[in-house]
Subunit: 357 residues, 2 copies
């Protein structure tokens, strides 16, 4: 049975988008491919507000989190975490033989500049964090964190996992000046999973040129060489690229400011519901995600609650990691609207009513 997804990702893909992907294959050595590749790069620059290089690679975003770790860190980095995906991004670096100092704050809190005071020493080649922690719904202030990193060590690179925030909340490229930003198709781009992106700075590229043992698939120097000709290094997922091109047009038409506001408004609706019907949202005030509502569920029987919601044609997400049993999550990325959220909230109200009977 087909259900409308209010999950943390993969997210709902609209019918018109699925159709846009349903075009005959072209080979990735053709002129048509070069045009498609160039168009996407140009639209990404426009929507994100950056001129930095953007590489596309077949894979889930994790492959490029690994890529950035291998291209930018020879030995030693600082990893910030406040939840499961922050923990994972540190594991990605350590599993590649990097030594990672860790700053961990309690779940529900955001890492703040004061938490990294004195920690970005001269040998810290990069500091990396998750923009929007999907397990707790915490959105950290990347502008403030990047400033603190540079104040302590101007040579340290800033690397951000923006998987569940990009295109839904403004990362403020001009203020952050990130060296690496990674995201994928299956979140706020509202496409099926399978294509990963990284936006890289000239400083990171300089570092990559001298890096050893960085592998082939995500060697940023090799990727740039091909990208400069609008080609891919290895076979790209062409049908997803049709979808990206289509979704970026949709975004440019909507306007990014309008888009960011829409996500803010959807988040406000979910938070209000959480305050009225549950025990509020989990993350601390001022650091709340506009794409994922993590709701404190108290003694709610989530399995029963969710099976009623599913029977009404919708799906949300369970809690994740250490707070799996005390929270549940509502994702509202991509093309979802306030009307969709209104519909979901009224279905959740019905479910609560039915559970009382």
């Amino acid at each position: 049975m087909s259900r409308k997804l209010f999950t943390v990702g993969p997210v709902n893909v609209a019918d018109d988008t699925l159709k846009a992907m349903d075009r005959p294959m072209i080979t990735h050595r053709s002129k048509e491919y070069k045009q498609l590749h160039a168009d996407i790069e140009e639209k990404l620059h426009k929507t994100l507000g950056t001129d930095n290089d953007i590489f596309m690679v077949a894979g889930s975003a994790t492959v490029l989190l690994e890529g950035s770790a291998r291209n930018a860190i020879a030995k030693h980095s600082l990893g910030l975490t406040s939840g499961s995906f922050g923990d994972r991004s540190i594991e990605v670096a350590t599993s590649n033989g990097k030594q990672v100092d860790v700053v961990k704050v309690p779940m529900g809190k955001a890492v703040k500049p004061a938490d990294i005071a004195g920690k970005v020493t001269k040998d810290i080649e990069a500091v990396h964090w998750v923009s929007n922690e999907s397990s707790t719904g915490v959105y950290c202030d990347s502008v403030a964190l990047a400033k603190e990193v540079r104040d302590q060590n101007p040579d340290s690179l800033v690397m951000i996992d923006a998987v569940t925030s990009m295109f839904a909340m403004d990362l403020k490229f001009k203020d952050v000046q990130p060296d690496s930003v990674v995201f994928g198709t299956q979140k706020a781009l509202a496409l099926p999973p399978g294509l990963a992106f990284v936006v890289v700075s000239p400083e990171l590229m300089k570092k990559s040129e001298k890096m050893e043992n960085k592998g082939f698939y995500t060697d940023y120097v090799k990727l740039k060489e091909k990208n400069d000709e609008n080609y891919a290094l290895t076979t790209p997922p062409v049908s997803l690229m049709y979808g990206v091109d289509y979704q970026l047009d949709k975004m440019l038409k909507e306007g990014m400011a309008t888009r960011y506001r829409r996500h803010q408004e959807m988040a406000d609706m979910v938070r209000k519901w959480a305050d009225e019907r549950m025990q509020g949202v989990f993350p601390e005030e001022g650091y709340r995600s506009n794409t994922i509502g993590v709701i404190k569920r108290g003694d709610l029987d989530f399995d029963k609650f969710h099976s009623i919601i599913k029977s009404k044609g919708m799906e949300i997400s369970n809690g994740y990691g250490d707070i799996k049993k005390s929270t549940f999550r509502i994702g509202h990325m991509g093309d979802l609207t306030k009307d969709d959220i209104k519909q979901l909230l009224s279905v959740m109200d019905e479910a609560l009513e039915e559970m009382k009977q």
Copy 2:
């Protein structure tokens, strides 16, 4: 304009297959996903004739060639090559810091057991080669090579890149007993690119358990842990998995023996045309691919020839690497039939006629 692809990959994707992929998203933590994952694994075991673990990862096949190099080789391997893709598979290992001894034979020739005599010494942890070299159209005898490797060093792992042969020519799993076989969706599975597979032996898994610095995305121990529960380690490309499931059903219905014969017959037709109209096919007798015809073109003006073919709604591939200017290539994988080849050959005849005028 839509053209029928007789390219080396991505290959033609049939309309019914595109439609099968055009289904609503499911999340990769749902029961529906587990069922899809399990179904695909079971059908892969049936079609390939092996019980070994099979991992699926979002990416092009190169990501898993890199994965096998990182999971199986601590220091030292032997790489066999007779063309561009053999060269690349060696580069994949060296760029990950492995020391690779190289056996290189002239293009058009296959690497044979005699070429590796005395070279699989005790410290060679793995020997790797390309089953079907896409630049030259050479198909090597993996049964004979694997036997020679084991005769010299029973502990050396056998790792095969089967990107353009799997599902079109019989790899003979029972005779080869390969430790790693890598392939993707965009060749003989006749799907868009974006999903990579690796079939791994228990011996390779044992090696991986002790391997350091093998990364996260393609850590085979982590992949197995999830795969055993029919889950993916990182977000899988669900829409492509719909397509894989659909294509494997098609294959089981056709029967593998019939399928392999169909590819043999298409290859025979192309070779006959090459003998009659051009200077024959490039690879040596007895080692010719059944999925890619590499044709010696003499003084044919390929650009003109190909633009006529394109104007008639078809597309073939240029030569590749060092023999780019002396050959061209015809791919016939996946769902293409003898009737399709007949149509292509008659269009190529027309093009030759037009060029005489």
